[in-house]
């Protein structure tokens, strides 16, 4: 059986596979973050949050990888989300919809509508999301296999998100006291949440590196205190 599967064309195998498990419906994450994810990617139909200083840049890098060249992104009610920075991380602007101001009371409906047709919806609601909206959006994302992305670390979400990416200890390079300019940022990324298992590892990254992309950074030696 194994021998047969090995002999067949992988494309054909994918087509004739009878059932797709949700773990197979994965969105890619950048290579450097893969060790943090128990399935090796973001499962479709889940909620994801980004927290910490640098969380938005991380969100842009992760979404660019997950969307690839064909996926659609909608940004709802986050007028400060800078799309030129997202484009530098590789998000395709011809696959982006923006709803600047969904208006009071319509936020849930707009996000639910978009979850039906686009792959990822990025939000940062100003107020706490009601429990009814939470249930509706979670169900909609699961049915339509889209992903709801919280740019505010999930602070306004009334339950835990499936995966939360956290950016710690970010420090900029290239800038000095009165000279240079911001070129790259070293940060440490970890994940937590309901669907991350017991993984508590972190990875050091450049966010961005000198090419404007997310990439692996060397481990820093631990800082030892010299006081006795």
């Amino acid at each position: 059986m194994v021998a047969l599967a090995e002999r067949l064309d992988p494309d054909l195998l994918r087509k004739i596979k009878p059932v797709t498990l949700s773990k197979d419906r994965l969105l890619e994450v950048p290579e450097v973050l893969r060790p943090l994810m128990p399935w090796g990617g973001i499962q479709r139909g889940t909620t994801v949050a980004f927290a910490g200083v640098g969380g938005w840049s991380l969100a842009m890098a992760v979404m660019a990888e997950a969307l690839g060249s064909e996926g659609w992104l909608a940004v709802v009610g986050v007028p400060s989300f800078n799309l030129s920075a997202a484009s530098e991380f590789g998000v395709r602007l011809d696959r982006v919809l923006v709803v600047q101001d969904p208006g009071p009371g319509r936020w849930g409906t707009v996000v639910a509508t978009l979850l039906e047709s686009v792959d990822m919806v990025a939000v940062a609601p100003g107020l706490r999301v009601g429990d009814r909206d939470r249930r509706r959006l979670t169900a909609r994302a699961r049915e339509q296999e889209s992903v709801l992305v919280h740019l505010d670390g999930g602070r306004t979400w009334p339950s835990t998100t499936d995966v939360t990416f956290e950016v710690h200890a970010s420090s900029w390079e290239g800038i000095g006291v009165g000279h240079g300019h911001l070129t790259k940022r070293r940060a440490v990324v970890g994940v937590k949440g309901r669907r991350t298992g017991a993984a508590s590892a972190t990875v050091p990254v450049w966010l961005p590196d000198e090419n404007g992309q997310l990439s692996a950074a060397p481990e820093l030696a631990p800082v030892l205190s010299l006081s006795s």
């Binding site: 087509k15 200083v53 640098g54 969380g55 938005w56 840049s57 842009m60 064909e70 659609w72 007028p79 400060s80 989300f81 800078n82 799309l83 030129s84 920075a85 997202a86 484009s87 530098e88 395709r92 602007l93 011809d94 982006v96 919809l97 923006v98 709803v99 600047q100 101001d101 969904p102 208006g103 319509r106 409906t109 707009v110 509508t113 978009l114 039906e116 047709s117 686009v118 200890a169 970010s170 420090s171 900029w172 800038i175 000095g176 006291v177 009165g178 000279h179 240079g180 300019h181 911001l182 070129t183 940022r185 961005p208 404007g212």
Partner: protein, 544 residues
């Protein structure tokens, strides 16, 4: 239909002799090769490197479609001696209905000999020509493909095209996404597909399936009850003065093609056969029919018109040179005098199917899905509520992207302004990359102080008056928001860079702005972009 196919046309057009190995490549893949190269093992589809490996002295030529189109005109002219209804399907492929000519010459076989006799002097031994005769143009083309080396033509007797097609693999239908599914359904030959009930085919595979099914049954792709378009659908361009250069003609052709395409699609029609007509100063009129299986798009129309005009002009030019050398009296081949009028006449039209939807979840269908969601939200919030980004270019972080109402664009189409390369001009005074991730719609007013607690400013020469040490929220501002995410109203500046002065619209007193930007890193590791204008500082963006 009778189809004349020149299998190695891309090579023939380059004028390569038969016994020299040569291959025409596109993107490093061989798309055509000469018989000599084929004998060495070069075949269509292999990589350029492999071709050179198999045949080291092969000549590699880049594809030149314009040249192929231009040089094919003599073949069409040669066939005009046999029938006036010649229609060109593309460089290397030409056909005409056989009914009249076949009776005149006494049968299909005789007709084929006539055709070969007319075409071979043009090819002059540079390449083969193959002839296929069958009921429809599709079957005739496959018949031409079935011609083997010694014979000249394959003639499928009337009414037997279906039987000819039946044993061929479905891949010959050249609809990859359809044939892939058919193969998995166990329908491996055209005959097996043709046996399906048409209604079922339409129900399962939509319009793509319907068109392919018509071909499989030996019918023409489009039903014969073609509506003849109204005569005023033709579009015309008058040249003043008369044009002899291809550049001017090509420009006119492009404009006409756009106009014709717009008026046809405005009427829900698409053009499958177009007549290109040119009138010269000396009063001659030249006309040629071009056919395309799918509907002709505006770009395809323009391209064909350009090939045609180039072909006529080129023919006349080379004839003139020839006469000058031989001192012969001029005869009229091609367009010798300047062109004074160019017309594109839609000859056969079909109802436009609109954009072809990918039944298998293609890109167009996906865009339609998104467009529906956009329409629902517009219904909820108003037409301007959903927007799409485009590059605009500018110095400030908030100025580089502009948002257009989604209703104003076609989400299924490529949009050039969404790629950064669209902005070609450098913007002096731009902040170096990376861009800040977060740009609040309203900049936050702040105070920038030095160690002594004195406000920091920027001199007329673009330098800071002193080194910044503390950034705090403006004391006078009443709202309670804090400094970008941090809990405090005061932050210690650890590092800073700049200022980068920006002078905008200095030529206009009313809109003239002088500003300077500075990057700062606070003690919590967060980085921000500050801007000063008229002596007050604002927090413009955060490197979130």
């Amino acid at each position: 239909m009778l189809v004349v196919w020149c299998p190695d046309w891309p090579v023939v057009a380059w004028g390569v002799p038969l016994d020299e190995p040569a291959a025409v490549v596109v993107a490093n893949r061989v798309v055509a090769c000469s018989p000599a190269a084929r004998a060495e093992g070069v075949s269509i589809g292999i990589r350029r490197r492999d071709a050179q490996g198999r045949c080291p002295d092969i000549a590699i030529l880049e594809r030149d479609v314009d040249r192929e189109g231009r040089l094919f005109e003599p073949v069409a002219i040669a066939l005009e001696g046999i029938t006036p209804q010649v229609e060109v399907a593309g460089p290397g492929l030409v056909g005409f209905p056989t009914r009249g000519p076949s009776r005149f010459f006494g049968g299909d076989e005789q007709l084929c000999e006539e055709v070969a006799g007319a075409v071979e002097p043009i090819l002059a031994g540079r390449g083969a020509c193959r002839i296929g005769v069958a009921d429809g143009i599709f079957a005739a083309r496959l018949a031409a493909r079935a011609v083997r080396a010694e014979s000249l033509a394959v003639v499928i007797p009337a009414g037997e095209s279906v039987d000819f097609l039946a044993p061929l693999p479905v891949g010959e239908l050249a609809v990859p996404e359809l044939t892939d599914v058919l193969g998995r359904l166990g329908l491996r030959t055209i005959g097996a597909f043709a046996d399906l009930v048409p209604a079922d085919v339409i129900g399962r595979f939509g319009q793509v399936g319907q068109l392919a099914h018509r071909l499989a049954r030996g019918e023409d792709q489009h039903p014969p009850d073609l509506r003849r378009p109204a005569p005023d659908m033709a579009v015309t361009w008058q040249f003043e003065p008369a044009a002899l250069q291809i550049d001017r003609c090509a420009f006119a052709a492009k404009a006409l093609a756009d106009e014709l395409h717009a008026s046809l699609s405005g009427n829900g029609l698409a053009c499958v056969r177009v007549a290109i007509e040119a009138e010269t100063e000396s009063g001659e009129t030249h006309i040629r029919l071009w056919r395309h299986e799918g509907a002709l798009s505006a770009a395809a129309l323009a391209e064909r018109a350009r090939w045609q005009l180039d072909g006529w002009l080129h023919l006349a030019r080379s004839a003139r040179q020839h006469q000058e050398q031989e001192n012969e009296p001029p005869d009229d081949v091609g367009v010798g005098a300047g062109i004074i009028r160019l017309s594109l006449i839609p000859d056969e039209v079909v109802p436009a199917s609109g954009r072809q939807l990918g039944f298998w979840g293609g890109r167009a269908e996906r865009a339609d899905d998104v467009t529906r969601a956009v329409a629902r939200i517009q219904g909820l919030l108003g037409p301007e509520a959903v927007s799409v980004p485009e590059w605009r270019g500018g110095r400030g972080p908030a100025e580089q992207i502009t948002l257009l109402p989604a209703a104003a664009v076609d989400l299924g189409e490529e949009r050039v302004a969404t790629s950064r390369q669209w902005i070609s001009e450098p913007w002096p005074g731009r902040i170096p990359l990376p861009s800040p991730a977060r740009v609040p719609t309203d900049p936050v007013p702040v105070e920038v102080l030095d160690v002594a607690g004195v406000g920091v400013g920027v001199t007329g020469r673009g330098e800071l008056t002193s080194s910044p040490s503390i950034v705090s929220r403006h004391a006078s501002s009443s709202d309670r928001s804090t400094l970008a995410g941090s809990g405090d109203r005061r932050r210690i500046v650890q590092e800073w860079a700049g200022p980068w002065p920006v002078e905008e619209r200095w030529w206009d007193v009313m809109t003239h702005r002088r500003r300077a930007r500075m990057q700062v890193v606070f003690d919590d590791g967060s980085a921000h972009l500050l801007v000063i204008e008229d002596g007050s500082w604002w927090l413009e963006a955060t490197y979130h």
